[in-house]
Amino acid sequence: MTKKPFRPDVDAPVYKGPYVPYDIIKEGAIAVLVVFILTAALALVFSSPDEKAVTIKTWSNADAVDFAQTAGDELAGTSAVANYGAPYNNNGTSQHWGFLSPEKWIGVRIQINTTNDFVIDPLSAQPAQPALSAALSQWKSASSATQTAWDDAFNKAEPNLTYSNGKVNIPTKAAGPIPVLLNYETQMARSGALDQALVTQAGFYTTNFTKPLLFVSDGTYFAGLAEKQHLSGSQWGMMNETGQYPGQAWLWLYTFWYQIHPYSTSASADFLVWGTMMILTALMVLVPFIPGLRSIPRKIKIYRIIWREHYAAKL
């Protein structure tokens, strides 16, 4: 007991009223039983979603043109991942707010060089074939200026890239070894060998799928599948689930910010949304200490309904 003034949103009155019997173990046991039965019933009635994972094999067989274009972008260093910036490489502008840019401060920790990691290294691990070996050594021995000239020629011809009779056709003569490399890369992808090559770069055992996931995410095929399932960021996708299942609905507020200005149009949207959510989370955690915020429940008076029997008994 203290003599300080009573603060209604901080202090609680002393309860001198009656106590009633309460069996806490029985309550817990009933709760477990009810939840278990409800869970089993929901699982039986609705099951759960399990869409097969996309592989580079399924992608390149379903849409060889998209695959070859993406592989070309990885080789030429024009893909999204190639220009991502930290933590993968130094090529992009990091997300920031004013001078705040933790992404940049922490820097490159998961080194990804799309040219070598996604194209040149996997192709170099292939059994020697004269045309491929020649193309690889032509690429590797070229100066970076020459490589850039090939890349530029490829980029110009890329929209007209076609795939027919098992061959990638790139309508340009100025792209050096790129057409040959992309043909072998596409063959490798369609056979499933590229999936393996990308995960086995770390050795025999692997539990890390950073490289194949980044590669797949650069194509339009993967995003197209997600778009059909309403999973993209602009579709509130983060809280959605494949099929008609409820998803992570508790992420609604996080997802919400991405839909409105200034977040939806900012190049640093992710950083701004995370910053906003961290501030809001801190507010929620610290409600008991924040004057004004902690008075809301006393003012909205929902407690009068919850404790109506108590207040009725006092009259």
């Binding site: 007991m1 009573f6 202090d11 609680a12 817990g28 869409e51 933590p87 992570q248 404790w307």
Partner: protein, 208 residues
């Protein structure tokens, strides 16, 4: 002799624990009469759902991360895991609304509120690492989307959502330990302080 025993670390800790949380507070057989609303059942429902999540999670762990794709029983256990998670968050959010409405942090209970809110955050992280550990299209998509958010904070360099091994370890070892420990602390705090009493219009007496 007896003062020696009283000075022991062991007896001091035991005394202090028993003082703060005597058995009849830890496992009470009565409660204040104002605890008379269905809103009070959502806390225990959340814990019951956590129990089912852990039980189904243990079964899924027994056979490894890919079992549920090919086994009918595995798929059913996965379904139970998913739906118990939905019930868990459902009940936890209603519990949160209820406790906010009662301003349940009053009377020296602010840390109880804080541990509850932190448990909510830890649960979101646990749920998220589960979603990216499914080894299917959903986990691929969620991982490639979520990387941008986490990377923007700089955290992606250490918390690589594209690294299945890291996510799975977090999901099945570290975060369950965190969730259970936080829930335990939260519940012990609730039992120590008791359920928050109703607002009274004219009160000057302070219980602390």
């Amino acid at each position: 002799m007896s003062t020696d025993i009283e000075r022991q670390w062991t007896s001091r800790i035991r005394h202090s624990v028993v003082d703060k949380l005597p058995p009849d507070k830890l496992l009470p057989d009565t409660q204040p009469a104002y605890v008379a609303s269905w809103i009070y059942v959502f806390g225990v429902t959340t814990m019951a759902a956590l129990g089912v999540i852990i039980l189904t999670g243990i079964i899924l762990a027994l056979d490894g991360p890919q079992w549920w794709h090919s086994s009918t029983l595995g798929h059913f256990v996965n379904s139970m895991h998913l739906w118990s998670v939905e019930i868990f968050f459902f009940a936890m959010v209603v519990h949160l609304w209820g406790k906010f409405s009662m301003a349940a942090w009053r009377g020296g209970r602010s840390l109880t509120w804080v541990t509850g809110a932190v448990t909510f955050m830890a649960s979101i992280l646990a749920g998220f690492t589960g979603y990216v550990s499914q080894t299917n299209f959903d986990s691929q998509w969620i991982a490639t989307q979520a990387k941008d958010g986490i990377n923007s904070t700089g955290g992606g360099a250490f918390f690589n959502v594209l690294n299945l091994g890291q996510m799975l370890m977090l999901h099945i070892v570290l975060l369950p330990i965190a969730a259970v420990a936080l829930t335990g602390i939260h519940v012990v705090m609730v039992r120590m302080k008791g359920v928050v009493p109703p607002f009274e219009d004219a009160t000057t007496e302070v219980s602390a």
